[in-house]
Subunit: 157 residues, 2 copies
Amino acid sequence: MDHFQINAVAYVINGRPEVSDDFWGEVPSIIRLRDDLPESTLAGLDEFSHLQVVFKFHLASPEDVHLGARSPRNDPRWEPSGTFAHRNHRRPAQIGISHPRLLKVEGRDLHVVDLDAVDGTPVLDIAPWFAEFGPRGEVRQPGWPTEMLANYWARSS
Amino acid sequence: MDHFQINAVAYVINGRPEVSDDFWGEVPSIIRLRDDLPESTLAGLDEFSHLQVVFKFHLASPEDVHLGARSPRNDPRWEPSGTFAHRNHRRPAQIGISHPRLLKVEGRDLHVVDLDAVDGTPVLDIAPWFAEFGPRGEVRQPGWPTEMLANYWARSS
């Protein structure tokens, strides 16, 4: 089995410390590039509306990994499905991928919304969203993600 | 600086050994789950049309990382842009993200097309594509990715 070391390149700043399943709408965040990485690594990123951000679920412990099938959010409304049919922190890599909207770039700070990661989250990679590299052809999915995510992008009251 | 160890969970099988910028159209691949991971981790994945796959650019060497701005594909037609405005192997994490179409699941084998990774590529994570978690709102990008990728999804002759 191969294993790889991956370093954080940036950190999330948003003043939202608590892990939460829902209400990520309109949460503003800053992705702050590490001091020792040159600002020129961000050149031209501001021409893209969206990013693809890989981050570490750093508040999860290794014991949270679950290898098998379980109901999403442990809710019996939904049939059990597998670790790799979910997108939560219980996967072996304990990484998440988010597609925030980039509002502006200021020095080493990327100002974004729709980044569903808590304050202090280590960011492992930042890339622009290329339309050419999204899913190709018709997209199909079962009903449970849409039901489960009914309040995901709602605003916190 | 935080660093994290991430293990391969699967490997790509497609008989395409050479690294190549273009002609990924219709290339079939198998993503084969590690023997020691239970098949139940894939339960329900077949209800999704597309995956989000994180893989390691394992043929790249650490010296290939470039921190700064350069013209995409070193082509002077395009203005220099930064490491994090690109999606190639020259990024610190040396990972790629692809969104292949899932054709079928057979035991530990995920049969896909549109996975732009060479034979033997270690896969660090597999997740379904949720429409809810894609870019939200209008997507905008500069002209160079579309120009650069004119033959990316063309068929190899």
